[in-house]
């Protein structure tokens, strides 16, 4: 029974043009478009520093580590930015007149970027500021630890400061050199993989709709059959999951071998994260399909909005992950898209296995919660109205 249901679920999925487009073709198309959009960045010769501004006020001056690090990106032949140090009014005027790509300012101790439009240079500026900010945060943590350890002893604050600046400056060669530019592109592709995983939510919702009598007539047929609902649901979801993992792996292979995207030595972990992310997305789709008491089309729209909002907050569509981490830090911590993207960040930026493992475990926990709630919602379900 299980394999009978699995076989037909798989058959219907691969013949469903809309699903095949959104889960398989759409990420491939985006990958090709990303590749076209960022292909100029691959050629270091064509990269030119662009004009930005810094609001050189008291707050900026106070953020010494950040300002030193940012300054280092604005100096030398291989600089990223042609930086002007001006006040806010002037920066606004220059931004309005498109004389600068954006400006950087410090508010409440946090470095922020203001841009008027989305584009490659704006993304690079935002990424640079984000990375420096993250580096500063790490350094601050380390410094606080050192100070705490040195309690009662004489603290060499000057040395900590010098080390901090060196750490932040050294930590950002990714942005400075050729491989850095390449890696900025990789991040866009990583978020694309996360998005492809999340398409699984829509696929599993479609599969669940087939099993729910209050949503579809096919669901009524399934509900009156002498087959345990769990068997039908599980076989359908497994078929969807297999197809999803296959499509995400195909996408990664396409990026690596056709588009030449650099994934480094972490291919196995990238695949693992894709598989776990796909599982969470599948469970999320099942859960939403059960709890949303509305029709099939409305469910699909809601799931699409949830998925795309997650992608937006996680750093797609030209807005950086760091921006939303600052604005709404909780969202990316609970959103599966945020966790998948963060897992890739952890692999790529920091080579941080602890953070990567946390993301994997978090995704599994979220998947487990969705599964438990879904089972509860499905058990011996009869409806007030269908």
């Amino acid at each position: 029974m299980f394999w009978h249901s699995f076989k037909y679920a798989f058959k219907t999925l691969i013949k469903n043009r809309a699903l095949v487009f959104w889960t398989l073709a759409f990420p491939f198309i985006l990958a090709i478009l990303f590749n076209l959009a960022f292909s100029r960045l691959h050629d270091y010769d064509v990269f030119e520093a662009f004009d930005v501004a810094v609001i050189d006020d008291a707050e900026y001056k106070k953020a010494e580590i950040f300002s030193e690090a940012f300054k280092s990106l604005s100096e030398g032949d291989e600089r990223l930015f042609n930086t002007q140090y001006i006040d806010k009014d002037e920066a606004e005027k220059k931004l309005d007149a498109d004389e600068i790509v954006g400006y950087v300012y410090v508010e409440g101790g946090d470095a922020k970027v203001k841009i008027r439009q989305n584009g490659t240079n704006q993304t690079i500026l935002a990424l640079a500021v984000e990375q420096i900010s993250q580096g500063v945060k790490i350094v601050n943590d380390v410094a606080m630890t050192q100070i705490a350890r040195s309690a009662g002893q004489k603290v060499d604050v000057e040395k900590i400061y010098r080390d901090a600046v060196a750490t932040v400056t050294d930590a950002e060669p990714n942005i400075k050199d050729d491989s850095r530019v390449m890696n900025i592109v990789s991040i866009e592709f990583y978020t694309l993989i996360a998005m492809a995983c999340m398409q699984g939510a829509m696929m599993s919702a479609e599969l669940m709709n087939r099993c729910l009598p209050n949503i579809s007539n096919r669901g009524k047929r399934v509900a009156i059959a002498p087959t345990r609902k769990g068997v039908i649901v599980l076989s359908n979801l497994l078929a969807g999951y297999v197809m999803l993992v296959f499509s995400v792996c195909a996408l990664i292979a396409f990026m690596r071998f056709v588009l030449g995207v650099e994934f480094g030595d972490n291919m196995g972990l990238i695949m693992l994260l894709a598989a776990v992310g796909s599982l969470t997305a599948t469970m999320m789709g099942m859960f939403l399909s059960i709890v949303l008491k509305t029709n099939e089309s409305a469910k699909n729209v809601i799931i699409l909005i949830v998925t795309m909002a997650g992608c937006l907050f996680a750093g797609m569509f030209g807005v950086t992950k760091g921006f939303f981490d600052n604005v709404a830090p909780v969202v990316n911590k609970i959103s599966p898209v945020g966790q998948i993207t963060d897992g890739y960040y952890a692999l790529f930026y920091y080579d941080d296995m602890a953070r990567f493992t946390t993301d994997i475990v978090s995704l599994l926990i979220v998947a487990g919660v969705f599964l438990a709630l879904s089972i509860r919602g499905l058990r011996r379900q009869r409806y007030d109205s269908i």
Binding site: S5, K11, K15, K220, R221, A223, A225, P226, T227, R380
Partner: protein
């Protein structure tokens, strides 16, 4: 004959609206029971409650002598349902669709293949087995819908308006198929808006309105409930107001309607009404082109009982 379905004091409300109101009835083994009622009368709610798809507020439902519940798999294995809305996969062929739904009941592949072919023959879709649903006409799609519901050879079949919007050829095919299912021993609950189908197929009829049974019995028993004896229809070229009012005075006539050259005279008694009407028309020099008499139909009974046409 033993009861296949026993419904006792079934109550189901949607908010303050009582959709089923203390409904009790039985369905005997091997019979075709017609479930009739105007829209919103509670037919589908009754069906869904019997199938355990819907929660109900009160009452008891037993099928094959056992209490029905969502996990009563042994009962479900003997039930087939053809829903009013077509419920098939566009991505599967005709054969694939029937095989999939049949496979939810029958695990043995060889048996299933035989059953699927039997179902294809029954609904006349053998030539179309490799086609996809979108390639089928409305009538053929309905036949596929039926095949998906009955391929596993159920002992109890629910057919919810299976002939809605189908061509006459497909309708005949479907009706023949249903008769064959009954001849093979299945018990059938049949809902429809087509009174002529009820008269052809059903051994017994229940008429529902506002969630209650307002009449039940065989076709003849129901027709006996009609207050009219006979209807005489006359196509008249011209009729003056005086001539028209004269019909009211004819013995046993209960009502007269005249519209677009057609005169309908309803008698509540009498045996030779047609002959007497012909004499009346001739004696009053009323010219007519056609005249015929009808016995009351189920539709007349339905109209009298519910105040609505079945297709309203």
């Amino acid at each position: 004959m033993k009861n296949v379905i026993e419904v006792k004091h079934l109550v189901k409300s949607y908010g303050s609206n009582r959709a089923i109101d203390d409904l009790s009835f039985n369905v005997k083994e091997g019979e075709i029971l017609g479930l009739l009622g105007p829209n919103g009368s509670g037919k589908t709610t009754t069906m869904n409650s019997i199938l355990s798809l819907l929660k109900f507020d009160d009452g008891e439902i037993r099928i094959f002598g056992k209490e029905m519940s969502p996990s009563a798999y042994d009962i479900k294995a003997k039930i087939g349902v053809v829903f009013q809305e077509v419920a098939v996969f566009d991505e599967l062929t005709v054969y694939g669709n029937i095989d999939y739904f049949c496979g939810l009941y029958i695990q043995d592949k060889e048996t299933r293949a035989r059953y699927v072919n039997d179902a294809l023959n029954l609904v006349g879709l053998k030539e179309n087995k490799s086609q996809y649903p979108k390639q089928l006409s409305g009538g053929l799609l309905r036949r596929l819908n039926i095949a998906c519901g009955i391929a596993h050879k159920p002992k109890l079949i629910f057919l919810d308006e299976p002939t809605v919007a189908v061509d006459p050829q497909s309708r005949n095919n479907i009706l023949e198929g249903i008769k064959k299912l009954r001849d093979d021993g299945a018990t059938i609950i049949y809902t429809t808006h087509y009174m002529e189908e009820v008269e052809i197929l059903c051994d017994r009829v229940i008429i529902l309105d506002h969630g209650k049974i307002i009449a039940s019995g065989t076709n003849d028993e129901l027709k006996a409930l009609a207050k009219i004896e006979e209807k005489v229809t006359i196509e008249v070229a011209e009729l003056s107001p005086n001539q028209l009012s004269g019909f009211d005075d004819i013995k046993n006539v209960s009502s007269v309607e005249y519209e677009d050259g057609v005169l309908k005279v309803v008698y509540n008694k009498g045996k030779n009404n047609l002959a007497e009407m012909v004499e009346y028309l001739q004696s009053h020099k009323i010219k007519y082109s056609k005249i015929f008499a009808e016995r009351p139909t189920l539709n007349d009974v339905f109209l009298e009982l519910t105040g609505k046409e079945l297709r309203d």
